[in-house]
Symmetry: C2
Subunit: 339 residues, 2 copies
DNA sequence: ACCCTTAATGCAAACGTTTGAGCCTATATA
DNA sequence: TATATAGGCTCAAACGTTTGCATTAAGGGT
């Protein structure tokens, strides 16, 4: 039997309300009483029951974090812990706890969000998604539940935080163009996913701006895992003429691509330059070190949480966006003059 | 104003108890009433309030997962998402939700655990730790809160699930010995962390069993990040005679080590064989592909959750252990006859 | 016509808090 | 002396459920 506020009240010969106000440090309680009650609380090792408190306060100080792709191998990516660390770090600071819901399918996601929103456990939701159309997002918008998206969707009525993926694609392409490359491939386009599409569009725009032809053959689709990078790079190597540079939508893809290139007896970056995105810790220690783009997943997380807080604390409806700056990190894998 | 059980009751002209029993699908309610109430519930889009339910049931169906090292770079490791996926997957199945608490320091960990245990939000805790001595574990044991450790500690009064790290170390060493190596280094020993110590002891035992000398110079300490693998490998290369094989306590360390070896103008595996542990997705696509040990983080997670469930559902106190089998995956980085 | 059983439902307390309103008591003001 | 004014506290309702017990009605056996 756990010790409750009434036990304390009885022992201290005051009412439960008084104890409650002592906990809340209300000025309406005399110093003497406060001291007495606090002492007894300590003695009896009392800790308030959060559930009961939440019930009356209608506030749990818990937010839900919904991550998709639980089952896919792409979930095994350093991006996720970094993001979670970011969210958790700022959540801790503000005394919020996070309820992690990693879901497998879109149906599961919807079901989970339904539980989180209607169940009253979570006050808000951070949703990681980059699908064009997300029924989950529609649902959240419809019922007016506070949430923030990490990534981007078509729906304009959402708060989101993201990198400028168009710019990332543009900069990477421009980087290669400046190195004299004319035939640049784009690896890892995944239709239906805004991230990859935005990056691809940025890449395309850079080509246009520099009067380079866009060749559909130079764009290959895939998911974010190194195995595919390897296989798809083989395809690209078979194209005639083959590319002299490859932008991979993720470092893991890039690692796979490099392996395929090296196995074909070619050199990176001398024969083919390679760049990835995400700047995973290993990029620096790969052979050759991989040019990549630091997307600051940690900041994405902290910013998303802060934004959610803003939403929670303001009753006026408004749609905020935040762009987390990304940073091109040039390493040997894309340097022509040998790094 | 959210719709409550009373709203439903009123509309259906029954009592709240009846509605409650309909929700619970109690046999004491007639089919006709059930149907009527269910229909109204749907019409009014009613969803039971979990907080209120938890209060009376004394059961939240939420478990806490406490992960350390939030701030450290080593948290950016595929191990964590995989583990979380495992926990989440089996938690989902049993209708549990997980509260993720990633903490920075030992103090923070203790504080967090205190909140989780006393607050009444979580019914049990999964704690990731491999410290010899964990004040958090002592605390949990003392107050008798249901928890499971992933990893291992000195305290015998805990339920834990882990790999057989001694065996892992032993097998890796033996693998190299069978390849004819006589001077094998161990990279990544971290005193105070059971994982690395167990692995190191396994390695040591294998040397003994094959009448090979154990040389303290061949053991270097570090954390699990590739940067250190690189730096420490350089140290090892300076030793005379230098090792002909290196066991790294983690794949990321191994990757760093390989880079250092290659930069020194040496070949892997011809001059120096290398093996890691954890079998990260990239191991297969590294150059050369990295010999590693699959530790099945996903299974660690599922098993830990199942064990916690057992603890929660049985009132007799008993201490369970589970060993998740690990699997040596031999790749080119450790094959002498060129893979 | 009576009692007993069974099925279906309602009543009210309980879970552990918070909080607005009200009630004392003592002191200051008229 | 009566009256306002705080200060310090208590009362009781409320938050939204669940659940043991009571109640009602109907049917079956004598």
């Amino acid at each position: 039997m756990r010790v409750t506020i009434n036990d304390i009240a009885k022992k201290a010969k005051v009412s439960a309300s008084t104890v409650s106000r002592v906990i809340a440090d209300s000025p309406r309680i005399s110093a003497a009483t406060k001291e007495k009650v606090l002492k007894i609380m300590k003695e009896m090792n009392y800790h308030p029951n959060m559930i009961a408190r939440s019930l009356v306060n209608r506030s749990t100080r818990i937010i839900g974090v919904v991550l998709p792709g639980l089952a896919e191998q792409s979930f095994q990516h350093p991006f996720f812990p970094e993001l979670l660390a970011g969210i958790g770090s700022s959540a801790n600071q503000k005394g919020y706890k996070i309820l992690l819901a990693n879901v497998d399918t879109v149906d599961e996601e919807q079901q989970m969000v339904k539980e989180l929103t209607y169940g009253g456990i979570t006050e808000g939701i951070i949703l990681l998604t980059s699908r064009d159309q997300s029924p989950t997002v529609e649902q959240l918008v419809k019922i007016g539940f506070p949430f923030v998206v990490i990534g981007r969707t078509d729906n304009p009525c959402v708060n989101w935080v993201d990198n400028d993926n168009f710019l990332i694609g543009y900069q990477l392409a421009e980087h290669f163009i400046q190195q004299g490359h004319r035939r640049i491939a784009f690896l890892g386009y995944s239709p239906g996913y805004m991230v990859t599409r935005d990056r691809m569009h940025g890449y395309k725009k850079a080509l246009e701006d520099h009067q380079l032809p866009f060749d559909q053959e130079m764009v290959v689709e895939s998911q974010f895992i190194s195995g595919q990078g390897y296989d798809l790079m083989k395809l690209l190597l078979a194209r005639k003429p083959r590319p002299t540079a490859v932008i991979a939508c993720d470092d893991l893809l890039a690692f796979g691509a490099i392996k395929a290139i090296q196995e074909a007896g070619l050199q990176v970056p001398d024969d083919i330059g390679v760049a990835g995105i995400n700047n995973v810790p290993l990029a620096d220690y790969y052979n050759p070190p991989l040019t990549s783009v630091k997307i600051n997943a940690f900041s994405l997380g902290t910013k998303a949480f802060e934004m959610l807080c803003t939403v929670l604390n303001s009753n006026v409806q408004s749609y905020n966006r935040a762009i987390i700056p990304a940073e091109l990190v040039v390493r040997s894998s894309s340097r022509r003059e040998k790094g």
